[in-house]
Structures are given as C-alpha cells and as structure tokens.
Symmetry: C2
Subunit: 140 residues, 2 copies
DNA sequence: CGGGATCCAGAACGATACTG
DNA sequence: CAGTATCGTTCTGGATCCCG
C-alpha cells in the first residue's frame, strides 16, 4: 500500500493483507521482528533485493504506520527501521500465519488434499443427498 | 498462486500470504467461511467481480488445497465451492488478521502513529544514546 | 449456468545510472 | 551510506466474445 488512497474494504482482513503483501515485505517484517536494523543490514540480509525495492517497501510500511524510520544526522548517513507500537500489534497475526505456512510449505502440505480432489471430485460427483455440510465459523 | 511452480520461501508466513493474496480471494474466503456456495451465488455476492476472475481465483484456491470444488452432473450445470479440511486450518489466521484489519481500517488506525512520525522523527533525529531498543519476539 | 480463450491496460517489479 | 530517477519488463486483473 502506502497511504494516499484510502480504499474501501469489504472484508476485515483485506486491509491487513494490503499492508503486509508485497514481494519483499514479509521478509522485511520478519527481519525486523526482533531488533531494529539499518538499511544496509536489511539489504545484505535479503538476497537479490534492489536498493530501489528496499526503499520503496520500507517506506510503504512506514506510511501504513507499521514501522518507524529514524534518521541519524551523521556522516556517513545512517537510517534505522523498527516496528512501532501499532505495528507490533501485528505480531500475533504474523505468528499465526507462520503456523499454516509451515504446514503448507510451498504446496507440500496441500498435496494430500489436492490428490484427493483429483481422484474423487472430478471423476465421482457427489450426490446432493450424500453431502454433509456442517456449519463452520471462524469469527467476524 | 495456483501450484505448478513450487516456490522457495524465505519466511514462514510468505507461503500463507501467497495463497490468500489476490484481489478477490479475501472476499471469496470470507463468504465461504460459513457455508458452501455455488458459482452464481459467489458472483452475485461479490460486486464487480467478473466471471473470469471468479473462476480464476477459485481455481487457484482449489489448486492450493484450500477449498474443494464439487461438480454436480445436472442440467443446468451446478458447481459448489467450500472450504476443505486443510483450508479450514486457515481460520485462526484469518480471524487473527481480522482483528488488526479492524484497527487499521483503511489507515484510520494508523493515523496516530503516522502523525507522530511526521512530527517527531523527521524533524528531531534521536541521539543514539537516547534510544531504547527492547528485544522483541513473536515466534519463529 | 458455468467457464474457456483472447486481447489489452495498468500495476508491480527490476536494472542501471546518478546524487548528497 | 542511503536514496532518487528513468526506463524496461513481467504479471495481474479486466473486457469481450464464444462454448457445452
């Protein structure tokens, strides 16, 4: 994201996704979760990220109120990034997503169910009368 | 996403994001959280979504092992989508993200911290000696 | 009714060169 | 060291038309 727009969301967690989605944002947030880091540290820690993308993503996270950027008036210039208080409230969400991500593991965790889909669903349509649809819930 | 690639993730929750990110995926998952729905129901429930995008997103979620697609051999054709067991394990993650999303609320929740950034950080660089850097943690 | 195929616009991302 | 500017590429999403 990056503020300026102010979108309308239809779903509660749409906003959350909008803030943390981006090719390198996950990595950046992950690295900053324990301690502040300066620009160069982040760049070296993230393989293949370019200076441009690092700056861009880190600025968007700042604009969204997740991290804080501190400029030290020194020579050579020094800039540090760290989670701010509002951003730290994301920790439970991130931790929670870690759990599922590990199960999924690039599709490995989903293999079983995918196989099941291929074998059963497409070849053997289920009769309506056979279907059980338990009510589910997970919250607002 | 949509399987076929098998990416390498550097961060545990990168995979989770990859699966649920997409312009309409949040909405689709949100609608399916309580009961199965057929294609037309989803399309009518999601304003402005096109047939193409609905099919595409729903198929990717299926390929990622999150939802199941059931085809009923009837006339006219009837197709239903619902969370599968593996996908249901995402519920806590989604619920968790709802919480932060509500606080954020399109930037409103972040307003305070943004104001603080604009006022303090840019104009008054903090002396290194003044900075307190508590160790943080949120999990692997 | 549900969905495939095409073509296209715009956003996201990347390579490179340059600045205080 | 950190960041800006420009340009090119790639990828996502959308319009439109057609099919069983």
């Amino acid at each position: 994201m990056g503020r300026t727009d102010s979108k309308n969301y239809h779903v509660p967690f749409e906003a959350t996704l909008d803030v943390i989605a981006g090719k390198w944002k996950t990595f950046i947030l992950y690295l900053l979760r324990r301690q502040p880091m300066r620009t160069g540290e982040l760049r070296r820690a993230i393989p293949d990220i370019t200076q441009k993308m690092l700056t861009q993503h880190v600025r968007e996270l700042e604009a969204d109120g997740v991290i804080i950027r501190t400029v030290y008036k020194e020579a050579p210039p020094r800039v540090e990034y760290e989670f701010c208080e509002f951003g730290q409230q994301l920790y439970p969400e991130l931790a929670s997503m870690c759990e599922w991500g590990k199960k999924y593991n690039g599709g490995v965790g989903a293999e079983k169910i995918i196989k099941k889909i291929e074998k059963n669903i497409y070849t053997t349509p289920i009769k309506t009368s056979d279907m059980i649809k338990p009510q589910r819930k997970f919250l607002v």
